[in-house]
Subunit: 336 residues, 2 copies
Amino acid sequence: MATMADVAKEAGVSVATVSRLLNNQETVSPETAARVFAAIEKLDYEPNILARNLRKNESRVILIISPNVTNPYYAHILSGIGDVATKLGYSALICNTEDDEEREREALDMLRKHRADGAILMASNIGCKWLLDYSREFPIVQCSEYDPQVDIPHVSIDNYQATQEAVQYLVNLGHRYIAMISSENQYISTKLRMQAYRDTLEKNNIAIDNEFIICASRDYSFKSGKSKAKELLNVSPRPTAIFCISDTLALGAITAARELGLSVPQDVTVVGFDDVEHTTMFHPYITTVAQPCYELGQQSAYLLYSQMRQEPNMPRQLVMDHKLIVRESSASPKIV
Amino acid sequence: MATMADVAKEAGVSVATVSRLLNNQETVSPETAARVFAAIEKLDYEPNILARNLRKNESRVILIISPNVTNPYYAHILSGIGDVATKLGYSALICNTEDDEEREREALDMLRKHRADGAILMASNIGCKWLLDYSREFPIVQCSEYDPQVDIPHVSIDNYQATQEAVQYLVNLGHRYIAMISSENQYISTKLRMQAYRDTLEKNNIAIDNEFIICASRDYSFKSGKSKAKELLNVSPRPTAIFCISDTLALGAITAARELGLSVPQDVTVVGFDDVEHTTMFHPYITTVAQPCYELGQQSAYLLYSQMRQEPNMPRQLVMDHKLIVRESSASPKIV
DNA sequence: CTGTTAGCGCGTTCAA
DNA sequence: TTGAACGCGCTAACAG
């Protein structure tokens, strides 16, 4: 492999000139530039990234911390991050935490060990003071979840607004008995969706029935969605609509309804969230709030890049567009 | 951050001694070793990976080439690779090829550019001579798919054996009209499963009806599974069982059957492959051949590591265990 | 506009 | 068993 010195010699210039040209910093005369480029071409020169990394003291690796890459929601985000990272010349250090705070900290220590230049965190629970300490020392971006009390750059959708739209849609359909399947986790998205659900009902003068609000497992499992939906469907009066904070939970709810002999949407409306689970693999296709997961990942990577480059005027937060997608699992209630 | 020189000074030795100790090569006297370790502890020293990489001329990155990380099958493999890579001190350069050979080559060029030390390829089509050239020059492992003509280390299940078991299971149930939904792709797994299907029928003296063999899209899409299953179910005599080479296709087949007014497994048996798609999210739960995806990924990473370390006696191929999982989508045919 | 030169931190000869 | 010294290939002062 040709080295920069080889190129310099071939072009009859010094290594500094070659380096300057490659890092397009200061000006180099067109003639010498041409000679250098010719030499690069001739020798099939590629800069040695390892040497550059050592010199610039950067690893060109970004740390990706997610509960579980296998979850389709995170897989799509990862895909977006990965594509941008590859394009920008970065590799990824992927750490699955299984939603364990201890493992999250361990993973973040990769920054301290100089194994990565910056990190993208998905799904951190609210209230981690130690995260702020890391963020002061290293470039960090939070994707999807974040702590509103803590000023760490993040990208997400507007969960409050999105939920408002979904619940208002249900109200407009004529529903008055609207239940919600939330989750036990401490995500900001969970909190905001809950708040929006309550506020929207109140705004429409619908009393909030605490029996209609129920929490599924932290990881939005199909199983817990199913069992919690069964509980809800046994409440009297029975809810005519169930708003679920994930598609997996919605799938569980639909299955629960079916097992109880109820049909969706004739007897009960079910709405999901995310639009990444297999929403159109079975009838009824699920009405859901779509999140642009891939783009969420892309923007997170770009935002982290700006931060690593210490660009000025960097946005502290990016809000991506969501979209309510009406499919088959929602309809007006039978008796208004 | 403390450097090796700091440690050396603190311990009253030379950097060479520290280096030797850290790379546990030659012998260092116990007393000096103790002093050095104490110094390392005291200064909270961590070796600088960038310098080490330059010196050893390695990037500590492994290239992961897959059609699409978002596909649950690959996501699980990726998860296995990622965990092992992190443990061994490697990062990942993730390249999605969308099954495009050109993009596959581009991705492999990352090796030539020294952006990665080795590569794990998933899902290469058969008959890429150029791949062998790369493999002679760089450490490469193929996961799931490979070319039997080409001697590149690989890890996979025994697709022939697995299919044989699945088809024999159907025969044992009493099925004689057994159809297959395969794929247009040129994967070795596809080829072997087809061969095993044919051989098993023949061995049982069941004539092979070419109308019963149909190819879905390259990416095993739900949609193509559904439409191809509809074609099959309109053949006369109608197949009593459909063996699908992926769960997504099986889901499509079940949906197709339902839309045609047939119930599974009463009217038609459906068997899938992989056990990663949501096989137990809807009834009937799918009978399928499970692949140990996560382990496939882990072993690929270990195998690549052996290769990068140039370990002798490295296995050229690893065959992992599969398992036929009987659930609800299979039963004996109504009329034998 | 260009060249000289000094490291970045480590691993590894070679000599003692 | 240990130390001195060199160089991996590049970037960034500084000097001209």
